[in-house]
């Protein structure tokens, strides 16, 4: 069974870019959410192995979204995308396995996804 990724990204362009790359992985399926609230709703209904999450969402910070998911008991891994990785120095969340700063390159994204999903 294929592994599932949820891409949570408010910037349409970045979302397209990530999806473009994910389409090249036959081992995975993916869904998208354009806001934190939308992601919360999706995560209540579906289980995902990996979240690709932008820190700067239209309604929430990525890290705040993770805090809100703390109590849900849902398990997943996270690739956090940010325009300012410096600001996240010292941020600790065992679910966040990788923090990628802009520009996200296809190679970098591919490596992070493969490492996490072990594909």
């Amino acid at each position: 069974m294929s592994q599932k990724i949820l891409v949570i990204e408010s910037t349409h362009f970045i979302m397209q870019l990530i999806c473009e790359k994910l389409k090249t992985f036959p081992e995975i399926t993916f869904s998208t959410a354009t806001s934190g609230e939308e992601a919360l709703a999706v995560l209540q209904k579906e289980k995902f192995e990996l979240l690709i999450l932008n820190q700067n969402l239209v309604d929430l910070r990525g890290t705040d979204l993770l805090t809100r998911l703390d109590r849900s008991g849902v398990e997943f891994q996270v690739i956090l995308i940010t325009s300012n990785p410096e600001r996240l120095k010292g941020y600790e969340d065992p679910r966040v396995k990788s923090i990628l700063g802009f520009p996200i390159t296809f190679d970098e994204l591919e490596k992070a996804v493969k490492d996490m999903l072990k594909i």
Partner: protein, 750 residues
Amino acid sequence: MGMNAELVINMAIQFEKVGMKFYKDIQRHFPPDSNEAKTIEYLKREEAAHLKYFEDIYNDLRAQKRAMLQLSPVQTEKIERFVNQKFFAESEKTRETLLHDSNIIDILLFAARMEMDAINYYKQMEQMLPYAEKKILHRILKEEGAHLQVILELVYKIKNYSQNDLIPIDGLDITKELSSKAITNYRDTEYQDLSLLNTTLRTIIDNSDTDASSLIREALLPFLSELDPELWMLYFYDTDKDYCHLSDFHSRNPSVTFENKLLPITNLLINQALARKEILVIADPERQATIHGTWDIKKTKAYVKELRNIIIIPFEGIGAIEIINTNGDFDPTKVNREFTAVLSNIIRVITIEREGMNRLNEFYKFFTFSGTDVNIEEIYKKALSLIAKEIQATYASIFHLTSNKQKLMLMCGANFRFQDAQFIPVAIEKTYMADMLKTGVGFTSHEKTLDHKRFEISILERLSADTVMNFLAMPIMLEQEPVGEIILFNKNGSFRRRDIDFMEFMAKELAAILVKRRQVKQIMQIQQEGQYLSRYFSPNLLKRLKKGEIFDKEGVTEEITVLFADIRGFTPMSERMSPQEIIRLLNTYFGRIVNIILQNDGVIDKFIGDAIFVYWGVPIKHKNDTLLATLTGIAIQEEVAFMKEKGILPEDFHIGIGINKGPAILGNIGSEERLEFTAIGDTVNTASRLCGIALKDEILVAGSVYKDIFFDLEVAPHGKQALKGKSKETLVYKVMNLKNQFFEIYKKAF
């Protein structure tokens, strides 16, 4: 966003609809057969007639098939929301008050104020309209002015009723005391509210050329009838004094017709009289031969065989009348004498009207001021000078409350030396402001009841070296919270009711200015945050910069690709939004496009107002920086379109983009801790100019960019453009489409 008459007419229609709704709401609070209900019914019908009139104008305009601004249902709904917000949401409290302790006079005055607000709003719109469209707006202004007149006439009529004749609003508990208070206020010998409204009304009417024309015509008619000329023509200057138009004419020959068109003043005979500022009499045929080339004489000769005598009387700053006789000569002495009397009378009337108008304009300018570049002290000084013109006061000053409302600080004073006392806050307990903090309303005090230990009084006395006698204080309320006070002191007499009303009015307007400033500050803060962001390169670049891999501290010339993007019509858009909405909108827009730029490794040089300046090529080079920059422009436009589709950005949100490639001087300005690349030079300027001429949703690029992108993108020639600051015309191209999948091209560029 461009303004045209359709948009304004549409707004007028929305205003009228909202007005109808207001009257309907209010009417049901009165018994159906009461005079009040009938009065409102009358106004409702008036409003319906206006609505019909505006709809007719709108339909006429549509029938003319002009370049229309089509309003979608969404835009119409937005305008309606804006109208509701502007005229009613802000006044919700007033409306509530109206329904609870008011009678018909309050309601009519409220309606009159709303009309005046609408008129002021149209006048603002007028400034944004091109000349041809202004005339349509004049029709709206006249109609609204007439409606205001109707309301005011009703107020004047009703105010003579006794309080028993006026009934409170049905079903609501209103005391006789309140009703009586309302009537007493309106019964004051001078009705400040009404006189202000009336003056505004007069200004609107007097401001139009036609009315100035009738005024002059009326003054001239007795004499013109005595002269009985063959033809007379009255000209008025256009707002542009190089032009004038034929406003009125009369001919003995009924077949004479002249079109009312704008004429260059140099083509008219009246120009000579206007230049000399004296009455011009042309009687001799030799002289006449020299004037045949002028428009007016050519026109006249089409109807008149022989020009026997021509008199031109200039009205300085207004226009001129040209009188032509064919049967006999005018007596120059008589003309001079009689006309001097007529002229001086006209000038006197016009001067009085203009003074009134200038005074109102001064107020208007002050009230519509939203200054970003004027400091608060300047605004206060201006406010005090306006107060000094309206109220007889010996001293006046404005105080601010500190943000914790514990201290009061002198900000500005008129007519005395205040510098020494400035910025020395005093404890609030010792001030009159402390009382106003509790009540939220202003007050006056006479000598006997004054507390000379209060800070306001003691500082006035210290600074003016005078004994304060009559005192007036008015709180400045910002969103229902006092933020300061205006105080006045008059040693020559007590303050009148109209002074208090006027001060209430000024405090309210000052508060409105402060709100606007707060709004502007919030916007600037966002832009500054953007600037802060701009200090950052993409994390990738930053990492390499820190390692010292790619940096040259000295100024160098490098080839870069520069992109400018700015919001089209941001100011009008921001005017119809609340500060919170603007902040949200800018945050959303900048947040998204900055993400795109950083993702594409662009260096954000700076934010300039609502524009962003980005470049590629330094400090690192990509496979094709020019293509990458153009793809970024496309991605930005698509992002904006996407956000509009999702309803995140308003439908009329558009951006224009300009891109140029070439050498630029790059320097590292600042300290080691705060690196700041800045690019300057012609390449940067041209990109900015291209952005300036790009229409909404367009990406315009220079020839140097075209060479690097035409293989992957469809690019159409956009002609040679004269760009500001460039001596030669520049060949410009417009980016049309992609020739392959976006990400296929993207991989080639990055």
